[in-house]
Amino acid sequence: MEATADARWFRAASRSCAPRRQRRRLPADFVRCVHAARPFPAGVDRARHRLGRLANEFRSLPEPLDRVKRLLDYASELPAFPEAGRVPANAVSGCTARVWLAVAADDGEQGRTRMRFAADSDSEIAKGFCSCIVTVLDGALPEEVLEMTTEDFGALEVMGSPARAVNSRVNTWNNVLISMQKRTRELMAAREEKEEQQEGGRFLCGTWRRSSSDRGASLPRIPDKS
C-alpha cells in the first residue's frame, strides 16, 4: 500500500463489514463501519457521537482490568495492516512501540470527502489505542478529525490514559492523533492545490477562447464542459 493509502482499498474493505452493534468478531481484513450503522441527523458530529458511545462502553466496565481486556478486544478487531504499508512514511514517531498509520481521503458518498484511517502496532495496548481512535475517526469529515483533541479520548479512562502526560513523547494517543491530523491537513492541502490548478487550467482555456474574439473584456466565464 502506498504511503498515502488508496481510498479504494478502504472502500473495498468497508463494503463487507458488519454493523458495530452485532458485536461479533469480524474477520481481520474488514474495516469497522461504525458510521454505516444508522443514518445521522444533519449537523451531528459523527466522530463525537462515536467517541461518546466508546466512552460509555468503557465506563460501563467498573474494573480497570476489564477495561484493559476490552482494549485488547479492540486490538484484536483491528483489520490486518498490509506489510507493504509498514514504511517509514507511515510510521508514527515518538511512541515506544512501533505504530503505523495509513491515511486516505475518500470522496465516496454524497460527494463529501471523508478521511479513512488504518493503523497497526507491535504492542497490543498501542494497537488497542489505535483501534479506538480509528473506530472514532475512520470515515469522519476532515474538520471532525482536526477539531478532536487528545484530552477528548481521556473520557475512555482506560490504561495509559491519554489525558495524562499529553506532551510526553510516549503518549500513543497523542502521537497517533497528531499524525492523523497532520496528514489530513496535508491531504486536504494537496487536494485544494490540485483543484486550483484544474480551475486555473479551465480559466486559461476560457481566456484563450474569449480573448481571440473579445480582447480587453471582463473576466471570462469558465466554458461549458459540453
Binding site: 480497570p64 515506544t96 512501540a97 507491535d122 497490543e124 490504561m159
Partner: protein, 494 residues
C-alpha cells in the same frame, strides 16, 4: 485493599541468605499493606536495632554502624528508605516500587532540604557580589565543586566543570576539544552500546571536522575487546566508552580479572596510540567508587540526578592541562577576563566553561547528595547492590520465556543492579504499562537511548528494571510476582 496484600512477598528462600535482615518483620519497613508507611519515629521506636544508629534528615549525623551483637541487621535498602519521602506513596492503589533508577534516582530529604535552604536563606548570584549573601552562595557553590572533586579523586578542583548534565558535558568536549583537535580522517572509536548522548555529539562534530566514527560491536552481548584493540591505530584520536552500560549492565572494571572491557587497559591501549579517552560514568559514579586518577581517563562525565542529586546539574572531569588548552564552549558572562568591542579574553578553567549564571542551587544540591552518599560509603553501596543485582538477575531468570541482556553474573563478571529484558511475544511497553497500572511497579520500556545497541541485539525495544541502594530484596520479589502476573494476563488474553 485486598489487591495490596499481594505485595506480601513469598516465604524467605535459601537465596535470601545473601541479605541480612530479610525476615518478614523487617518487611514492615519496605512493603506495607497500608496506604501510609509508618513514620520514622514509629520505626525507630519499634525496632530493636534502632538503638545502634541514628536515622536523621541531617546527612552529617547519618550513621549506618551495624550492631555489634548477633541480632540481625536490616539491609541497606531498609535502612535508607525512610530518607526518601517519595518512596512512601501509593500508585494506582499499590505501594510504589520504583525500579527506574537508571533513568533518574530519587532524592533524600537532606538534598531537598539543601535546595530549600539555599533559596530560603542565601540565594544570590555567585562570583560577583561583595555582599554577605553573594559570598555565602559563592562559598557553597565552590564547596560543592570541592566535594565533586574529592568524590572522584580529581587531582585539582579546577578539573571539575559544572554543566547542566552529562549530555552537556560531552557536548562541551565535542565542540571544544573535538572541534580544535579533530582533522579529516581522524578516528573516534566508540562502542555500539553507548548512550545516544555519547554518540550524537560526535556524529555532529565528525561531520564538521571530517573525522570518522568507528564502532566496537558486540560479542555475546558485551563489547568485543579484541575488535576494540584492532580498531585502535595512529588515526585514533578519541575513545568514548561507558563505564557501566545502562542496558547490558556490564561493568567496565578496573582490576577484575577475566572480565570484559577493562577500562584501565582501554585507557592504557588508547594512550599508547595517542588517543584521548572519554568515559561516560553516569551509571557508575552513583553506584561505586570511581577514581579518575586511578582510571587515568582524560575526560569523565556524570549527571547529578542519577546520584540522588537534583536535575539540572552534572559535571565534566578533565585533566587540567587538557582543559587549559581548550577553547570556550559557550560565550558570555563569567567565562571572560576582559571584553572589548572586537575581542575578548577568557578566564581559566573551570570558569572558562561555565558561561552565565550557573545552576547554583542544583550544584549545592549535588554537593548535599555527595555528602549523603559519602556518609553511607560507596563501597557499602556497591557491595549491597552487587548482591541485589545477583538476586534480581536470578529471580528474573526464573521467569519463563525471558531473555535478559548482558552477561550473567559470576565470580569474575559483576553486573550493575539493572536488567534489560524481553519476554517472548509480549511487547515491553505492554509489560511496563501493565506493571504500572495494575501493580504500581515503575520500570522503563523502549530503547533507553541506545538505539544502535538494540539494533545490534536484534530488537526494537526492551523493558528495564534498574535498582538503587534504597531498593530491597522484598521489592524484587514484588516485581517478579507482578511480572509473572503480567505475563499470565497477556498470554491468556492472546
Amino acid at each position: 485493599m485486598a489487591a495490596s496484600l499481594c505485595h506480601f512477598p513469598p516465604a524467605v528462600s535459601s537465596s535470601s541468605s545473601l541479605f541480612v535482615g530479610s525476615k518478614s518483620r523487617s518487611l514492615l519497613l519496605a512493603v506495607s499493606p497500608f496506604k501510609h508507611f509508618p513514620s520514622k519515629s514509629s520505626i525507630s521506636a519499634s525496632l530493636p536495632w534502632t538503638r545502634s544508629y541514628a536515622v536523621s534528615n541531617d546527612a552529617a549525623a547519618f550513621s549506618v554502624a551495624s550492631p555489634s551483637d548477633l541480632r540481625e541487621s536490616p539491609s541497606l535498602g531498609e535502612i535508607t528508605r525512610p530518607d526518601f519521602p517519595i518512596l512512601r506513596q501509593v500508585v494506582n492503589g499499590f505501594n510504589l516500587v520504583y525500579f527506574d533508577n537508571a533513568a533518574t534516582s530519587q532524592k533524600p530529604s537532606s538534598v531537598i532540604k539543601a535546595l530549600s535552604e539555599y533559596y530560603e536563606l542565601y540565594n544570590s548570584n555567585v562570583h560577583r557580589g561583595v555582599h554577605y549573601l553573594s559570598a555565602k552562595a559563592t562559598d557553597a557553590y565552590e564547596e560543592a565543586r570541592n566535594k565533586v572533586a574529592n568524590f572522584v579523586n580529581a587531582a585539582d578542583r579546577r578539573e571539575i566543570i559544572f554543566t547542566r548534565n552529562a549530555t552537556e558535558a560531552i557536548n562541551l568536549v565535542a565542540y571544544s576539544w573535538g572541534a580544535l583537535n579533530l582533522r579529516p580522517g581522524d578516528e573516534i572509536v566508540l562502542t555500539i552500546a553507548e548512550h545516544h548522548s555519547s554518540i550524537v555529539p560526535w556524529q555532529i562534530v565528525a561531520k564538521k571536522t571530517g573525522a570518522v566514527l568507528k564502532y566496537v560491536e558486540l560479542t555475546k552481548e558485551v563489547p568485543d575487546l579484541d575488535q576494540f584493540k584492532g580498531l585502535l591505530s595512529k588515526n585514533t584520536k578519541l575513545v568514548v566508552a561507558h563505564h557501566v552500560s545502562n542496558v547490558l549492565a556490564n561493568l567496565t572494571p578496573i582490576t577484575f580479572s577475566g572480565s570484559v572491557l577493562p577500562i584501565d587497559e582501554i585507557v592504557d591501549w588508547s594512550h599508547k596510540v595517542g588517543a584521548k579517552v572519554l568515559v561516560d560514568a553516569c551509571q557508575s559514579v552513583p553506584h561505586m567508587v570511581v577514581d579518575v586518577q586511578k582510571l587515568n581517563v582524560d575526560f569523565l562525565v556524570a549527571s547529578s540526578h542519577k546520584m540522588c542529586g537534583p536535575t539540572g546539574a552534572g559535571f565534566l572531569y578533565g585533566k587540567i592541562n587538557l582543559l587549559s588548552s581548550m577553547p570556550p564552549f559557550l560565550g558570555g558572562g563569567e567565562m571572560i577576563t576582559d571584553v572589548f568591542q572586537d575581542y575578548s579574553t577568557y578566564a581559566e578553567p573551570p570558569s572558562r566553561f561555565e558561561a552565565g549564571t550557573p545552576a547554583i542551587a542544583e550544584a549545592i544540591g549535588l554537593g548535599a547528595a555527595i555528602d549523603y552518599l559519602s556518609s553511607i560509603g560507596m563501597e557499602k553501596i556497591h557491595n549491597y547492590e552487587k548482591k541485589l543485582s545477583e538476586y534480581l538477575y536470578y529471580q528474573l531468570s526464573s521467569v519463563p520465556n525471558i531473555h535478559i541482556y548482558g552477561p550473567a553474573p559470576s565470580d569474575t563478571v559483576h553486573r550493575a543492579a539493572l536488567c534489560a529484558f524481553n519476554v517472548d511475544n509480549i511487547h515491553p511497553t505492554d509489560i511496563a504499562t501493565f506493571l504500572d497500572e495494575q501493580h504500581g511497579v515503575a520500570v522503563r520500556s523502549g530503547h533507553h537511548c541506545a538505539q544502535p545497541l538494540h539494533r545490534a541485539l536484534g530488537v526494537n525495544a526492551s523493558a528495564r528494571a534498574s535498582l538503587y541502594f534504597y531498593n530491597t530484596k522484598e521489592e524484587v520479589d514484588t516485581f517478579i510476582q507482578a511480572l509473572k502476573d503480567t505475563i499470565e494476563f497477556f498470554t491468556t488474553a492472546a
